[in-house]
């Protein structure tokens, strides 16, 4: 390990960039770092704990965790099969289907919320049927929050898993099939374990995205404490009524996001490219 580290350091040393590039890159780093430093500076530290543990903060945190975990679970259940089909199954119009399924990745989330209304709202395409058949009203409900989060977050998982599936060597699956494994068995016991790192990375990214979802949620699910007011909504609204609480909740969310990125360094961001092989 120490041998490896030394080698890596030396190779990094060889690529030291020109001074001008270092300076510009440092400005870019400061550009990203300053807002967070500013936030930490503005925080009323002496009250931080009490602000974080107020009933309204805890309610928002609990609701956010619940809904984002549901959204992640749904993203896995529906996203993995979708990624598999997109990666492996050549059917006419695949590019269009693929673009459609990834659209919410680049769409302004508010527009996503408006579209969700058009489909699942009370006067939307399916709104009446959902209510008549299942007694389900999605707008202004916690289920609506989960729906909005899943709509926005699932593409992250699909993209990650699809890329891994594409890069996978078919031969081990083929071998399993020739040894008598069913398609389903080969998928479950050979394919899935092979893409496990990508699946974990995709699930964590989707979870982080669901946790941060704002636009589609406030548009489609509305905003009510304990039912649909997740952490980002709570931050936005507390800015007017209780700025200290907004700052503290912001820092919690930044901490979570930062943790997610650090944990994904190897699998997704390629932060240290040589460590992949050692795992």
């Amino acid at each position: 390990m120490s041998q490896l580290r030394r080698t890596r350091n030396r190779s990094a040393g060889l690529q030291r960039p020109p001074a001008a590039i270092l300076v510009i890159a440092s400005i870019a780093v400061a550009f990203f770092a300053l807002p967070f430093i500013g936030l930490l500076w503005r925080i009323p530290w002496s009250d931080a704990w009490s602000l974080l543990t107020t009933k309204s903060s805890l309610t928002a945190i609990r609701l956010s965790l619940e809904t984002s975990l549901w959204a992640t679970a749904l993203s896995i259940v529906f996203g993995v099969p979708l990624a598999w089909v997109l990666a492996r199954y050549g059917f006419p119009g695949r590019r269009i289907v693929r673009a459609l399924c990834l659209l919410s990745l680049v769409l302004p989330p508010v527009v996503g919320g408006v579209a969700l209304f058009a489909a699942y709202g009370r006067r939307g395409l399916l709104g009446d049927s959902l209510f008549e058949w299942f007694g389900l009203r999605l707008p202004f409900s916690t289920a609506g929050v989960v729906l909005a989060q899943t709509f926005i977050a699932m593409p992250f998982l699909v993209l990650t898993v699809e890329a891994a599936l594409r890069g996978l060597d078919h031969r081990s699956e083929d071998a399993a099939r020739t040894l008598g494994a069913s398609r389903w068995y080969a998928f479950r016991r050979v394919t899935l374990p092979a893409v496990r790192p990508a699946l974990i990375a995709g699930a964590v990214l989707a979870w982080a995205r669901a946790l941060g979802e704002f636009g589609a949620t406030i548009t489609f699910a509305g905003n009510f404490p304990g039912r649909t007011q997740t952490m980002p909504l709570s931050v936005y609204l507390a800015l007017e009524s209780n700025p200290g609480q907004a700052l503290v909740l912001s820092v919690v969310m930044i901490g979570i996001s930062f943790g997610v990125l650090l944990s994904l360094r190897d699998q997704w961001l390629g932060g240290s490219s040589t460590s992949g092989g050692s795992r």
Binding site: F117, R122, R123, P139, N223, P225, Q229, L237, E240
Partner: protein
């Protein structure tokens, strides 16, 4: 008179202030007015956070006081309009709402705003006076969002300003709230002390309070203070 002016105005003023902008620009060639509409609480916080705004027109006195307490007003606020509240329902009143107590009927979706937003505070006062308890489905960001949810049919009922109902031009209907439980919303206006164009800010305030401004406000259903 020249230059540009940025006015922050309560979202219930959207129609009236848009007309006033046109009239003011016509009367003062070379002047460019930009109006920024939103919940008064949002507008007040934006100014406190350093937004470059010349004039604030709020739908309540509490949010104006918040800016004043931050020493960000260059003069004492003056009242320029009043408003009252009305129940808003979709065209044709499909849920058959006739009074405030009907809002608490089961399975009705009622939306309002958070208590720091003027309409959220006013409607809570009205419901309390009428002795009606109702759990909202959502706390929307501003009064126009309540109107939007009701006219889109996603919510059944809300409480908004009388002027908001007439501004929907028929896509929504109002159900009157009796005077004894209604409240009067007072709209103050003031120049912001960080304004870079004090003279223009004062001219705008004078215009809003003057004959032409008051006539426009009256046309939209506002009362005069």
């Amino acid at each position: 008179m020249s230059g540009s002016l940025t006015v922050s105005a309560a979202s219930s003023l959207q129609g009236a202030f848009t007309d006033m902008k046109t009239a003011f620009e016509k009367a003062n060639r070379g002047v460019k007015v930009t109006v920024n509409f939103g919940a008064s609480s949002t507008l007040a916080q934006q100014i406190i956070d350093g937004a470059p705004i010349d004039v604030l027109a709020s739908a309540d006195e509490a949010n104006m006081t918040k800016v004043s307490d931050a020493k960000l007003l260059s003069d004492t606020p003056t009242l320029f309009a009043t408003n009252s509240l009305e129940i808003i329902v979709r065209k044709g009143n499909p849920s058959k709402i006739a009074s405030l107590s009907d809002i608490s009927k089961p399975r009705l979706i009622y939306v309002t705003c958070a208590p720091q937003v003027p309409i959220g505070k006013y409607s809570a006062q009205v419901l309390q006076k009428a002795g009606v308890t109702v759990t909202p489905a959502s706390l929307e960001p501003d009064v126009k969002s309540i109107v939007a949810k009701v006219t889109a049919g996603e919510a059944d009922v809300g409480i908004v300003y009388v002027t908001d109902v007439s501004a929907t031009q028929g896509t929504a209907e109002g159900v009157e709230i009796p005077a004894d439980v209604n409240v009067t919303a007072n709209y103050p206006i003031a120049a912001v002390s960080t304004s870079t164009n004090r003279a223009l800010a004062q001219a705008w305030i004078a215009f809003v309070r003057g004959t032409e401004g008051q006539a426009i406000l009256k046309r939209y259903g506002f009362g005069s203070p």
